[in-house]
């Protein structure tokens, strides 16, 4: 294993993050905080509690997950798309690294950034909404697992995309609807039949539900299933990336 390479890639990516700290960190934290102000403080007081949890607190796990998902995908996909676009990918391809180093470097950096954003959002939320966390260890676990898994997913999109449009198409047209329909703002039990069943096909439901369980100890679906789904997606992503590097798909002619 080429540890120096992992470190080099990780540092390069983190330097890029901090060079653009306003877009990459400040902006997602601020925009998510707006939800807390609007839904938490302004509208939240007019809403009923859901499962005994005040609405303002109820939406926090979902909003954190929404942010993690979006940021992980866009950051990781951009990170690997950029060298493809500028041509500097030649260096990565000609270097003595395998997919393990590349993934640890790029995905590690993207996930680190997402985790930072997640933590900042949780801290900011606490300013507007008084919430308690029931299983802090599991909050951390879901934070890390989601960041890593969806950074992998974003990495695959970045490898696959050969235009900026494609790069943005998946997050915009697939992920955004799935996250908004994933139960960030409601409990799926509140959906009319058959939508309460159909929504179970949406993997984001399990992510948000898992995080909500870690916060409040209660959730729409069993936390074990949530965990299983995340790990499943993770395994699929790792396999896909390994295959891409082995075959050179979209990377080498």
């Amino acid at each position: 294993m080429n540890l120096h390479a992992i470190r080099a890639i990780y540092r390069f990516e983190m330097a890029r993050t901090f060079r653009t700290i306003v877009q990459s960190i400040v902006s997602p934290v601020l925009s998510t905080s707006l939800y807390f102000i609007v839904f938490g403080s302004a509208i939240g007081s007019q809403m009923k509690d859901i499962g005994g949890v005040p609405y303002a607190s109820f939406i926090i796990p979902g909003l954190v997950m929404l942010s993690l998902l979006g940021e992980s995908i866009s950051n990781a996909s951009f990170g690997i798309y950029l060298p493809k676009w500028s041509g500097t990918i030649y260096e990565l391809l000609s270097s003595p690294v395998s997919f393990i180093e590349v993934v640890l470097g790029y995905v590690g950096a993207a996930a680190s950034k997402s985790i930072m954003i997640g933590v900042l959002i949780l801290v900011t939320a606490r300013v507007f909404v008084p919430y308690e966390v029931m299983h802090p260890v599991w909050v951390v676990a879901f934070l890390v697992l989601t960041s890593v898994t969806f950074s992998m997913f974003g990495f695959i999109i970045g490898l696959w995309a050969d235009s900026f449009q494609k790069l943005q198409a998946i997050p915009l047209m697939v992920i955004t609807p799935l996250t908004f329909l994933g139960g960030a703002f409601y409990s799926i039990n509140m959906l009319p039949s058959p939508w309460d069943k159909i929504t179970l096909a949406n993997p984001v439901v399990y992510l948000i539900s898992g995080m909500r369980w870690a916060f409040f100890g209660a959730s729409d679906v069993n936390v074990g299933i949530s965990l299983g789904i995340i790990l499943g997606v993770l395994v699929v992503c790792v396999t896909a990336i390994a295959w891409i590097f082995k075959t050179g798909y979209k990377l080498k002619s």
Binding site: N2, H4, A5, R7, A8, I9, R11, F12, A15, R16, R19, S86, G87, T88, Y90, E91, L92, L93, S94, S95, P96, V97, S98, G248, K252, S253
Partner: protein, 318 residues
Amino acid sequence: MPAAPPIVTITKLSKTYKGGFQALKALDLEIRRGEILALLGPNGAGKTTLISIICGIVRPTSGTVVADGHDIITDFRGARSKIGLVPQELSTDAFETVWSTVTFSRGLFGKPPSPAHVEKTLRALSLWDKRDSKIMTLSGGMKRRVLIAKALSHEPTILFLDEPTAGVDVELRHDMWKMVRALRESGVTIILTTHYIEEAQEMADRIGVINKGELVVIEDTDVLMQKLGKRTLTLTLQQKLDALPADLVDAKLALSADGTTLTYTFDAQSADQGGVGPVLKRLVEHGIDFKDLHSKESSLEEIFVGLVASNRAEKEAS
């Protein structure tokens, strides 16, 4: 020279791109340790494809490459850590500084940090003053130097320079040549591709000519010149000639349009077997007098054009 084992051995290397275009056709090539090898060929000959396969950027369709004892596929880590590549395109990061991009390259190639080596490399390439500049603020020539510094950051034993002086001004080109020679002195094997025949002639110990995915010829530079070199004899005539006398008409003898000069083209080797003597004698016999004459060796440019043409003719005949 004793036959030392080659540093790079390329065996039956073929590449067919996805569209079905065959860019390399069972190419065999041995690169000698410590030499400067120039790969010469027209656009689309397959030079970049060849280099890209060796460096791991393009996958070969068939054939093998062993670089400094490491197979480029089965032992890609071993092979690639020995190889430095300066690509044809000026692909650089925009916002990184010169120092950080070179440091990055060294790490990527698996070497522990060495500010001393990075400093030495930057100084050798006259980049030291620019170390804290963002790459996007540099001129094209400077960017090219940055790419060279990146390629040398991990102390490779084999360096590929893909058209290093394309679009580079004369001064920088001469700097580049100096740098390449200095690198060779330090033991690095250098393979460069070029369009400029004078560059190959000036720089290379050996020249390989590539055309349409095949190695047409590979020879020591001076041997290639001698073996394939033609000489031309130019005669300035005393009196204008309207046409050549019928029995002097010969493919090798050409009268200029204005009828004042005659050019005789002949193989450099046949000069040993009489050379210009017989033709001069015959001219005198015909009463063709001349006031001046000079002969010169043909340039590699002319040789190259001839080689490619004959290769094409051979292809069409078969």
